[in-house]
């Protein structure tokens, strides 16, 4: 469920970062305004609780496979939307940093998918509506399961939309949705069952936790205003970035291919790095090998799809050779640095060792 940096584009990443950062700011402000000071340590504990719970596996009935808790819905129920959202965000940040679960750029997407939907959609509009004022056993079960399922479905939809908008993955929108939604329906049912079980346990053992106003910082949520504000900011940033992105060299290169059909127009860096330019002019356009493959490629490409020319085609072999050489150089740099370091740092090190 965690999205990875490798699959999103900078525009999508930045847009979702803006949305999530805006939400974090908003929730922090709300929390400062209306929470008592006790909520912050409690949020910390419950975040850690999710970690601890995730480390315990349980058997999913009838499948034999094991699962663990996602936790978004349970935090929303125990803490309310604002504190719940901040807690989920903090859990995701630690997962991104320490476990490399989802990346730093994808963090905005992940916080939005796994935090916004359970806290600001599933909790107020589904859980609260079903549970009402009196907490009863059937109501809690129904509310937990349904809200967990819907929260996860929306999150999965978010993953699909963000991946699709990024355009790195080749998955078609409808195929991806057909894969993601049923899988997350199953996960949601299990998650819902665990959430319901835990909430019921708390309801029986310590009902005041669920009823106390301290723990449920619900208040009246002006979600409509919030969503409108955040959507505006996100669209604004996304628009600027995609406008910028369309002018970046890749887009330009592509446009050049499409309009002129030539690769030979030298990119601007030739002027900037003039010292390298004579090597480039000597080498880049001369090799007949590059041209030959390009011609071959073009005849092939014409058969397939003339609108999308081969980007790396002309320089494929040189790309492989050069890439390997660069990688080797990078490793060599690392090796030399390490060796030099060992030489210089050895003495204080040996003193420091017990």
């Amino acid at each position: 469920m965690h999205m990875a940096d490798a699959l999103i584009s900078p525009a999508v990443g930045a847009t979702m970062w803006t949305a999530s950062a805006g939400l974090i700011g908003y929730c922090s402000k709300k929390l400062k305004e209306e929470a008592n000071e006790r909520s912050v340590p409690l949020m910390g504990v419950l975040g850690a609780f999710i970690f601890a719970a995730q480390m315990i596996n349980f058997t999913i009935p009838a499948t034999g496979s094991s699962g663990h808790l996602g936790g978004g819905m349970i935090l929303a129920i125990l803490l309310g939307p604002y504190a719940g959202f901040l807690t989920i965000s903090s859990v995701l940040i630690i997962q991104a940093l320490f476990f490399a679960d989802g990346g730093l750029l994808a963090l905005g997407c992940n916080i939005f998918n796994l935090g916004f939907f359970p806290c600001f959609i599933a909790y107020p509009f589904i859980y609260k509506k079903i549970v009402g004022k009196n907490l009863t056993k059937p109501k809690v079960i129904a509310a937990s399961v349904i809200s967990a399922v819907i929260g996860l479905q929306l999150g999965a939809l978010g993953v699909v939309l963000e991946t699709f908008a990024s355009g790195v993955s080749e998955l078609a929108f409808d195929t991806f949705i057909i894969i993601m939604l049923p899988v997350h329906l199953a996960i949601g049912l299990v998650e819902g069952a665990v959430t319901a079980g835990t909430v019921l346990f708390v309801l029986q053992a310590r009902p005041e936790i669920l009823k106390k106003p301290d723990f449920a910082l619900i208040g009246d949520i002006s979600i409509k205003k919030l969503i409108i504000k955040i959507a505006c900011a996100a669209v604004f940033i996304g628009a600027i970035l995609s406008w910028f992105a369309s002018y970046n060299p890749d887009g330009l290169e592509w446009a050049m291919f499409k309009t002129a059909g030539t690769e030979e127009i030298d990119p601007p860096e030739k002027n900037i790095y003039s010292s390298l330019s004579d090597i480039q002019t000597k080498t880049a356009f001369l090799p007949d090998y590059g041209f030959k493959t390009k011609e071959m490629q073009e005849t092939e490409a014409e058969e397939n799809n003339p609108a999308w020319p081969a980007i790396d085609a002309g320089t494929s072999t040189s790309g492989i050779i050069g890439g390997t050489l660069t990688l080797l150089t990078a490793c060599l740099i690392g090796f030399l640095l390490k060796k030099r370091k060992r030489g210089t740092v050895k003495e204080p090190d040996s003193r420091g060792v017990k």
């Binding site: 900078p10 965000s89 319901a196 936790i209 992105a245 480039q280 790396d312 050779i321 050069g322 050489l325």
Partner: protein, 269 residues
């Protein structure tokens, strides 16, 4: 078993950051900003780019060497995180079958190229994040976030969460051990037992949180954790950020690999 190793891992990465070398002594803001710029520049390439991405390996490799980080350990962590990118990326070769290049008689479709590109991106971005935390430490990252105007309650939340993780994971570990000692070799828990276990854990946690909070109040806690700040943006920080940014920009606009390749080819002709 799994829990203990997982917990050890978190502590170990923080331990790495306590070394005394150039990288660990840099202001955390410099490292945070550079990491983000690195990730954005890696991700900003076209999806069929491979050779242009290779020079970016210089960044993690250099940092691992300078920061004296255990490369094998980081590699293992990266591999553990791989499944999502591997699973979603694997659809690229299936759906994108248009032949893009031909090497030694083998036709290679665009899908395989973009898949390889995804895996390279994945490796680079994940290693950057892991390197950030294992040269900086979590407290310093939080400090950097606070200095970069992240809302105070959220930074507090991160700090509290990080402190509590060790405590509660230990608690959960004890509970699981107790259950497994009483369950005669059954491997995992059923949902019913699991939820009850979770409920108990939750109650213990909240009780503990209340006790700790009261103890903190007794000792003068006023709602914010004070972090010792003894670093500032100086010459080496500016050099670090600007040097790497210049490198990223250069690599972004000038394909070192392919030009090096062309040069070598010509040399051997």
């Amino acid at each position: 078993m799994k829990i203990e190793t997982g917990l050890l891992n978190i502590g170990y990465m923080d331990e790495l950051a306590r070394k005394n070398n150039f990288l660990c002594n840099l202001d955390p803001r410099a490292k945070l900003i550079t990491t983000i710029i690195f990730i954005v520049s890696v991700v900003s390439f076209d999806k069929y780019k491979i050779s242009a991405l290779i020079p970016f390996f210089i960044y993690p490799i250099t940092l691992i060497s300078v920061g004296d980080l255990p490369a094998k350990y980081l590699l293992k962590k990266i591999l553990i995180a791989a499944p999502f990118a591997v699973m979603v990326g694997i659809f690229n070769p299936i759906f994108d079958k248009q032949i893009l290049i031909e090497i030694a008689g083998f036709n290679i479709s665009g899908g395989w190229i973009s898949y390889l590109s995804i895996m390279i991106r994945f490796f680079l971005t994940v290693s950057a994040a892991l390197i950030l935390i294992s040269t900086t430490g979590f407290n310093s990252v939080c400090l950097a976030l606070e200095k970069l105007k992240t809302p105070k309650p959220f930074v507090m939340q991160l700090l509290f969460l990080y402190r509590y993780i060790f405590l509660l994971v230990n608690e959960a570990m004890r509970m699981v051990r107790a259950v497994s000692l009483r369950s005669f070799g059954k491997r995992t828990l059923t949902i019913k037992i699991f939820t009850q276990l979770l409920g108990h854990l939750l109650l213990r946690c909240t009780d503990r949180a209340n006790r700790i909070h009261l103890a903190m109040l007794c000792r003068g806690f006023n709602g914010s954790i004070k972090l010792i700040q003894n670093r500032k943006i100086g010459f080496s920080e500016i050099l670090f950020i600007s040097g790497w940014c210049a490198f990223f920009i250069f690599v972004k606009f000038y394909n070192i690999s392919s030009n090096l390749g062309i040069l070598t080819e010509n040399f051997f002709k």
